[in-house]
Every structure is written in structure tokens, then in C-alpha cells.
């Protein structure tokens, strides 16, 4: 990147908010996605909306790219820098602006950490249900951009069900305000729903108003272990068939269980073939009745070591252990490729079988866990990126899994987003007209393709194109 552009950027945000040392570029070259990484040209911490608008205008005239970023815990590469880009980091925007008790809304800046938001509203007996695995670190801006889900998806839905209004700086520098505190709003296109899940390709989110609900009065957390996968699958379908709706129903396989236990040391029986972790919440009588019904089903299906958490601490320890699953799997092998295949929930047991088959056929190891309640599975391939051959086999296994998922009526990602790592599969699930429509929207809103280009789908270069920015981009001719 040209020095002149850099000094213009410094002018906009100030010397203190501009970083371009090797150390800073390196430490913003990744997010939580394995294998992908790319150095940004600079790292920038904007202080207000006007600065963001000015940076975007500069990017349009000087032709560089902008990749917005929160805590960098994404799992599809959405916040990994692209060529000739700056990382626009929003973590300092961490103020909760308003909690509106009577309208049941909370208005926040995008850098607010999800768990901090949850803790604050719960002090007022309110509740913000979406809770991605990385809730203690990830930010609301990132949650909205990827339509994050979490452990409570079955009963409470995902981030998109809670976004009521968004303020965003558009790719031309204008500021869009859409939605608000109204429960009903039929005025024009539902723009906020375009923005949810747009992965920073349509603008930079600067404010959001989110829906809250009342905090459930009581809850119970139950963990159950199974000797066979069959018993576990039967339990899942029995629960659906008798109209029980747990707030949480998490599946954990044996490999994942062992890793979780090694980290959390809760004394869980490591030999179990499968584990289900449940939570019911609501009014006390309701929770009691549901828990009794569940215990009956578990009994009929040979579950063992069934344990109900006695204290709040015990329950939060169990849930925290489940949240650690993805990272804990790195205890087996250093590269954990976590996928996000999702099927209509009744097909969930079938999907687990298919993943196991993919692992066997391609001779790669899988750790499997996921949200049994909403059909969102996380088959995690345990590999080592230094072993090229194994990585290739892992990709083959995932090709198979994605194809089968789509055949079951499923989708390639339930809650992580498409980003870099899943864009080649997008057409399979969205169809050609679907992807074309997305591309058209993108090209109309972001004329110069400066905001997080190359994510979700590849925009084909226009014929005239840009001249190469620097020498590195010109490959020597060896003819």
C-alpha cells in the first residue's frame, strides 16, 4: 500500500489508532479458521462513524479493500484480511448504550462482548438467548454479521430472530439506519434481514438494537450417557415425538467427550459412546414436568449415569465444558477443521452416521458434537496441516458430507457463515439463481467491491480490471 494512502488513513483516525508494524500485521492475519490467513496492509481502530465513512470513501478513490473485524473468533474466515486490505477493528466500540425495559430492547455498539451483554440484561431479569460457543469473547457485530447461533437454537432461535434495528456505514460512505424498536414494521424491503449474515460485505455495522425477552424463572440441566449410538438416536427422536422442547439438547461423541473431560475434569465417564446434555427452562412446574418426562424417555432408552445439576455452578460448569468442545479437540491433533453441516432436525442421527462413514472411507479422524435440538452438527476433522496428504483426505470427506447434507435437505452452514472456507459449496445449496441474486445485490451496493471482497462468493473480475497494486502481484514470466 502506498505511503500516501497510509498517511491519509493516519490523518483520519489519528496516529494512535493506526498500526502497520510486522507484529501487528501478523497478529491480524488470522481468525479462528484453520489454514486460511493473509496479511493486512494496516490495522485500524476507528473511533466514530464519521471516521469509518471517511475511510470507506478513501478506499473507493484509492482502491484498497476493507475487512471489518470483531474479536476474530469466526470459523469460516469471514474476518481474515484479503489482498490489499486494511483490518478495521471494532473491539473498542464496547458500550451498551441503552437497556429499554418496557420496550424489551437493548441498543449496543458492535464491539460489545456477547456474554457481557447477557450478564447485564440478566441483572434486570431480562434475557438475550443467542449464545455462540465463544460467547465470552465474540462480539455482537460479529454475531450479526454471521447470524450466529449457539446452544439454545431449538427453543429460542438464532441472532436474526433478535435483531430489530441496525445502523451501518454503507460502501459509499453513507449512513444507513434501518428498523428500530417496533415489533411490527412493514415499510418497504426488510433491509435489516439482508444485513444479518452479510459477513461485512455490505457495510460496517456501527450500532444495533436487539430484542430481549423475560428471563425464565427456573431451569434444570441434565446430562445422560449412552453405550450405543442407537439408543442416543432413539432418545432424540422420542423427544421430538412427544412434544418436548428443551431449551438445549447437545450431542457429544466419545472422542469429543474424552477431550472435554481432559480439560474440564468433571469426572464424566469417558467410556460412553454418546452423551446428551439437556436444559429445560420456564415456569417451575413446567420445568419439573418436562424433566420428569425426559427422565422417563432416558430410562426407556438405556441411558446411564443420568445426572441433574444440583447447583447453578454445577450447571454452568457442564455448559462451559460443552462450549469448550471445539478447542478441546485440539488435544488430539493440532489442526481442527470444524464444519457446520445442518439438516432438518429429524435427520440429525442420519447425519452423524454419514460423518462416521466419511471418516472411515477417507481414513481421517472425526470428533463430532452439535446441537441435536436444531439439526446443527459440528463434524470436526482432527488433522495436522503439516501433513498435506491427510488434509487432502479431510477435504474429500467434507465434500462427501456436504453433498449428503444437501441431499437430506440440509445446508452447508447453520451458524458459522460462508466466508472463505465454504464459498465453493454455496451454489450447491443456494442454487445458481440464488448466488446470482446475491452477487447482484453486492455489486449494486458496493460498486467498487471494496468491502470484504471475495467472501461468501467470488465476484468475477470485470474485463478492464485494476492494474496490479504492487510488484508482488506481478508474476515473473518464465516463458
Amino acid at each position: 500500500m502506498d505511503k500516501k494512502i497510509k498517511s491519509k488513513l493516519k490523518e483520519i483516525v489519528g496516529q494512535n489508532n493506526f498500526f502497520d508494524s510486522n507484529e501487528d500485521k501478523l497478529t491480524y492475519s488470522y481468525d479462528a479458521t484453520p489454514i486460511f490467513n493473509e496479511l493486512p496492509e494496516a490495522v485500524i481502530f476507528p473511533e466514530n462513524t464519521l471516521q469509518i465513512s471517511n475511510i470507506i470513501k478513501l478506499a473507493n478513490t484509492e482502491k484498497f479493500n476493507i475487512v471489518p473485524r470483531g474479536a476474530g473468533t469466526g470459523l469460516s474466515g469471514g474476518s481474515i484480511p484479503v489482498e490489499n486490505s486494511i483490518a478495521l477493528v471494532m473491539t473498542k466500540w464496547n458500550n451498551i448504550l441503552e437497556i429499554d425495559h418496557s420496550n424489551l430492547t437493548v441498543t449496543v455498539e458492535p464491539g460489545v462482548i456477547t456474554q457481557n451483554l447477557q450478564n447485564e440484561v440478566e441483572k434486570l431479569n431480562l434475557f438475550y438467548p443467542p449464545d455462540p460457543g465463544s460467547a465470552s469473547v465474540c462480539t455482537i457485530g460479529g454475531n450479526i454479521s454471521n447470524n450466529a447461533g449457539g446452544l439454545r437454537g431449538l427453543k429460542y432461535g438464532v441472532t436474526k430472530n433478535y435483531v430489530m434495528g441496525v445502523e451501518m456505514v454503507l460502501p459509499n460512505g453513507e449512513i444507513l439506519k434501518t428498523g428500530g424498536k417496533n415489533v411490527k414494521d412493514a415499510a418497504g424491503y426488510n433491509l435489516k434481514d439482508f444485513i444479518v449474515g452479510s459477513e461485512g460485505t455490505l457495510g460496517v455495522i456501527t450500532k444495533a438494537t436487539l430484542k430481549l425477552i423475560h428471563k425464565p424463572k427456573s431451569f434444570s440441566t441434565i446430562i445422560a450417557f449412552f453405550e450405543s449410538m442407537k439408543d442416543c438416536s432413539k432418545t432424540i427422536s422420542d423427544i421430538f415425538n412427544c412434544n418436548l422442547t428443551p431449551a438445549m439438547m447437545e450431542y457429544i461423541d466419545n472422542t469429543t467427550l474424552k477431550c472435554i473431560e481432559d480439560y474440564a475434569k468433571l469426572g464424566l465417564p469417558k467410556a460412553a459412546e454418546a452423551v446428551l446434555l439437556f436444559e429445560f427452562d420456564g415456569r417451575e412446574e413446567e420445568v419439573k414436568e418436562d424433566t420428569n418426562n425426559l427422565e422417563m424417555i432416558l430410562n426407556n432408552n438405556n441411558a446411564y449415569s443420568v445426572k441433574k445439576a444440583k447447583t447453578l455452578l454445577e450447571s454452568s460448569k457442564l455448559k462451559a465444558a460443552r462450549r469448550s468442545a471445539f478447542s478441546a479437540l485440539a488435544r488430539v491433533k493440532p489442526t481442527t477443521i470444524l464444519e457446520d453441516a445442518t439438516v432438518p432436525r429429524a435427520e440429525f442421527p442420519m447425519l452423524i452416521e454419514l460423518v462416521n462413514k466419511a471418516g472411515k472411507d477417507n481414513k481421517v479422524l472425526f470428533g463430532i458434537f452439535g446441537h441435536a435440538g436444531d439439526g446443527n452438527l459440528h463434524p470436526t476433522c482432527l488433522t495436522d496441516e503439516r501433513n498435506k496428504n491427510e488434509i487432502e483426505r479431510a477435504h474429500k470427506a467434507f465434500d462427501f458430507i456436504f453433498n449428503e447434507t444437501i441431499k437430506l435437505g440440509g445446508t452447508i452452514t447453520g451458524e458459522h457463515g460462508t466466508g472463505l472456507s465454504k464459498k465453493e459449496f454455496l451454489e450447491n445449496v443456494a442454487g445458481i439463481p440464488g448466488v446470482e441474486m446475491m452477487k447482484k445485490i453486492k455489486s449494486v451496493i458496493d460498486e467498487n467491491n471494496i468491502l470484504n471482497p471475495g467472501k461468501i462468493f467470488t465476484t468475477s473480475p470485470r474485463c478492464e480490471g485494476n492494474l496490479p497494486f504492487n510488484n508482488k502481484q506481478i508474476k515473473p514470466f518464465n516463458g
Binding site: 498500526f19 508494524s21 510486522n22 507484529e23 501487528d24 501478523l26 497478529t27 491480524y28 492475519s29 488470522y30 481468525d31 479462528a32 484453520p34 481502530f45 474479536a71 476474530g72 473468533t73 477493528v89 473491539t91 473498542k92 462482548i113 465463544s134 465470552s136 469473547v137 465474540c138 477431550c259 472435554i260 481432559d262 480439560y263 469448550s324 468442545a325 471445539f326 478447542s327 478441546a328 479437540l329 485440539a330 488435544r331 493440532p334 489442526t335 481442527t336 495436522d384 496441516e385 503439516r386
Partner: protein, 429 residues
């Protein structure tokens, strides 16, 4: 591969490094990241930089070195890391390599002298302590302080002076007998590590420890002429000296028969529990290091594990607890001291916000990086003040010094006590 790279890759373990899957779960618990909001000040960022350094050290500059020093070594990231990355090992190895490369300057010579010539040598330590005590008692110090001369000459020296513990009249190992018998029943055979700073600067805490062990049915052996554990050496790039001290301690305690070796200093306890890791490449010592490490117990851990109860009659003060990094993150000791304190003070225990965040003491960090250290101390003091407690309890000498300075700085009426002193104040078992 050239020689330098061979050296680097053999020292910085590639398998340990690639265990980090950069998931980011360490970010929110890292005091330096939370303060700067910069990824390079986070554990995941530092590991990425160490990886780059192991590949080619010429790519990184002063910022990298500064980040390695800025890290408190509190190991909160290890507690948070589900993947089990051994951050501390990698951090220490990198600091060792950096210190080998660094140009010699006065600061480095002074640190080296302090670590290798004073701490590592018991008789020198006592000699210098006596000189220090004479100074602390003298009219000269009073004058320096009352006239603000020292503060005007160097605010750094002034802070060092303030942070230095009041040297005890007699070091504890001169008072404690080699064998101390239990008050009543004899159930456990334990040995006691007196430490270096604890021995000369906190003799009364060592004496409290002996008293509490006596009441806990222990026959206590306290070998004479003990060695510093070497933790400060390892954390400041003096790995070789640390290994030497570890071997000295192993050889010394080998002569005694005991179930547990009791430590009352979180930093020493953690480091001695990890001797087996430090000496893993030393065939002669590997086995004995494993045995030595397996017997180390922190005093609060020992009391909790053996279900020893201390009851108080009446207790009116409200109490809060600060987790020493090397207890909670280094040894996973969280419940134990809380349980003991709760048993004693009934309902007067008040948990503080972020109790597991470092107070900024961090070995000799508060001397090497005074300004940064004060940021973490100020955050900690704010959280303590919010509890309105009369007493703050902790399990490490470094934290006690730092928190006592915090009390003075903020003009508070607050007592800072070691867990074991708090127990010993109570009557009866």
C-alpha cells in the same frame, strides 16, 4: 538449515506451538489484551509471533521483544485454554533466546546480579538483607522519604523502595528448628520449603505456616541451607541457573523421608511442581524430579485435601480473596482457599470482580515495568475497594507486597494477609 535455525527450532517446540488453534478463548482473560485491545498483546497473538520468531527471528523487531516483556506470565490463558497449550513454557523459552541475543546494558547486569549472585546464594541473600534492613531502619531512609529527595531524584527508585518488604529481624530458617513436632496427634510427615524472599522478608508468614502445620498433626522437617526455587530465574531468561537451583533442591530434599513438601509461596510451589518439565531432557534427574514435583503441595491445598478444619469463635471483619496467578492458573487452586476462609469467617466472605486477574506484581515485573504494573494494580485495587472488605487474603508474597503498596497508595484502612496468617490468628482447631 543454518545453525541458528537449528538451535531455535530445537528450543522452541514446534508441536507445542501448533497446538494453538487460535480460537481466541484466551482473549477475554488476558490482562494485557483487555488493557490494550491489541491482538499482539494477547496470548494467541504472542504465540503467532513466537512462531514467526522460530521461523526467522530477523523478521520481528523491538515490538516483539517488548510484547514478550509486557506479558505478565500470569498464565490465565492456560486456565482458559481448552486445547491445553503450554503457553508458559513457550514464553520462557522465547525470553531465554531473546536474552541471549540482547546487548549488555546496566539494567541487564543488575537483574543478572540480583538473580544469580543474591537470590541464588543463601549467604549472600542474608548479607544483603541485613544491609537492607539497616537502611530500612535508619534515619537516612526517613529523611529521604520525609524530604521527598528520593522521589525527586528517581521516581523509579522510590517505587522500588516502597515495594520492598520490611526485612524481618531474623530470617525464619534461623528460628525454625530442623524438626518440629505436632501439637497433638502425629499423622503426616511433611517437609517445608522456606523460600528466599519469604525467608528474609516474610519470616512471620513462615512461622505462621509452621504453627498451622503443627496444629494439623504434622511432624515438620525444615532442612537447613535451602535453595531458591529458581522461578524468577526461569521467568527472566536465566534458564540455566534455574535448572541448577532445581537440581540443588532435589538433591537436598532427597535426604529426607516425607509425604508432602509444603510451600506457602504460589510462585515457588508452581515452579517446583513443574521441575519434571524443566529437567525433562536431563536423564540423571528426570526420575527424581518427577518424584520431587509430585510431592509439592501448597499449604491451602494440603489443608483442604486433608479436611483439616479451623473454626473461629466470633468473626466480624469482612473478607475478600485475591487469587495469586500461580495458585489459580499455575496450580488450579481456586476452591481450596475459599473453602478454608468461608469455614472461618462464615458469611463475611465477599467475592471481588475479576479476582483471578493479576495484581501486577508478577515476580519482579513491578520493578522491571513499573508503569504497566501500576495499571494492573489500580484495576485490582478498584475491585477490592468495591467489596468494602476489611481484609484481603492472598497466597503469595509478591501479591502481598504489591497489594500493601496499593493500600498505601490509596490511603485505605485495609489489611493484607497471607491465607496461612489468617488461619493462625484463629483460635483452636
Amino acid at each position: 538449515m543454518d545453525k541458528r535455525r537449528e538451535n531455535l527450532s530445537s528450543l522452541i517446540n514446534d508441536d507445542l506451538l501448533s497446538q494453538c488453534i487460535h480460537c481466541g478463548l484466551c482473549l477475554s482473560v488476558c490482562p494485557t489484551y483487555v488493557t490494550t485491545n491489541l491482538e499482539r498483546s494477547s496470548p494467541r497473538g504472542r504465540l503467532r509471533l513466537i512462531k514467526e520468531y522460530a521461523d526467522d527471528k530477523n523478521k520481528l523487531g523491538n515490538i516483539f521483544e517488548d510484547e514478550m516483556d509486557f506479558c505478565l506470565g500470569c498464565r490465565a490463558c492456560e486456565t482458559a485454554c481448552p486445547a491445553g497449550v503450554k503457553y508458559d513454557v513457550l514464553h520462557n523459552e522465547t525470553k531465554y533466546l531473546l536474552s541471549k541475543d540482547k546487548k549488555v546494558n546496566l539494567k541487564k547486569i543488575l537483574i543478572k546480579f540480583f538473580l544469580n549472585k543474591i537470590l541464588a546464594n543463601p549467604s549472600n541473600l542474608k548479607l544483603y538483607s541485613r544491609i537492607l534492613r539497616t537502611y530500612q531502619q535508619s534515619w537516612f531512609r526517613k529523611m529521604l522519604h520525609s524530604s521527598n529527595i528520593l522521589k525527586n531524584i528517581s521516581s523509579k527508585l522510590f517505587l522500588i523502595d516502597e515495594l520492598t518488604p520490611q526485612i524481618s529481624k531474623i530470617s525464619s530458617d534461623e528460628i525454625i528448628d530442623e524438626i518440629t513436632l505436632p501439637i497433638s496427634k502425629h499423622i503426616h510427615n511433611v517437609t517445608f520449603h522456606v523460600g528466599c524472599i519469604m525467608n528474609v522478608g516474610f519470616a512471620e508468614i513462615n512461622l505462621d505456616t509452621i504453627e498451622v502445620l503443627k496444629k494439623s498433626s504434622c511432624k515438620i522437617t525444615t532442612p537447613k541451607n535451602q535453595y531458591c526455587c529458581g522461578a524468577l530465574h526461569a521467568h527472566n531468561g536465566e534458564l540455566k541457573k534455574a535448572k541448577e537451583l532445581a537440581k540443588n533442591n532435589i538433591d537436598l530434599f532427597r535426604n529426607y523421608e516425607y509425604e508432602y513438601l509444603i510451600s506457602n509461596s504460589a510462585g515457588c510451589g508452581t515452579f517446583m511442581k513443574e521441575y519434571y518439565e524443566l529437567l525433562k531432557d536431563d536423564k540423571d534427574y528426570l526420575k527424581s524430579a518427577e518424584i520431587f514435583s509430585s510431592k509439592i503441595r501448597d499449604i491451602s491445598e494440603f489443608i483442604y485435601d486433608n479436611d483439616i478444619k479451623f473454626n473461629s469463635g466470633k468473626f466480624n471483619d469482612s473478607v475478600t480473596y485475591h487469587d495469586a496467578c500461580h495458585l489459580v492458573h499455575g496450580q488450579g487452586i481456586f476452591e481450596q482457599p475459599r473453602q478454608i476462609i468461608n469455614d472461618i469467617c462464615d458469611k463475611n466472605f465477599r467475592e471481588m470482580h475479576n479476582s483471578t486477574f493479576c495484581c501486577g506484581s508478577a515476580g519482579i515485573y513491578n520493578i522491571l515495568r513499573q508503569n504497566d504494573s501500576q495499571i494492573f494494580l489500580d484495576q485490582k485495587m478498584q475491585n477490592i475497594i468495591k467489596t468494602n472488605a476489611d481484609v484481603v487474603i492472598t497466597g503469595n508474597p509478591g501479591c502481598i507486597m504489591q497489594l500493601r503498596y496499593g493500600v498505601k497508595k490509596n490511603n485505605l484502612n485495609l489489611k493484607v494477609k497471607h491465607t496461612v496468617s489468617f488461619i493462625n490468628e484463629q483460635k483452636g482447631i
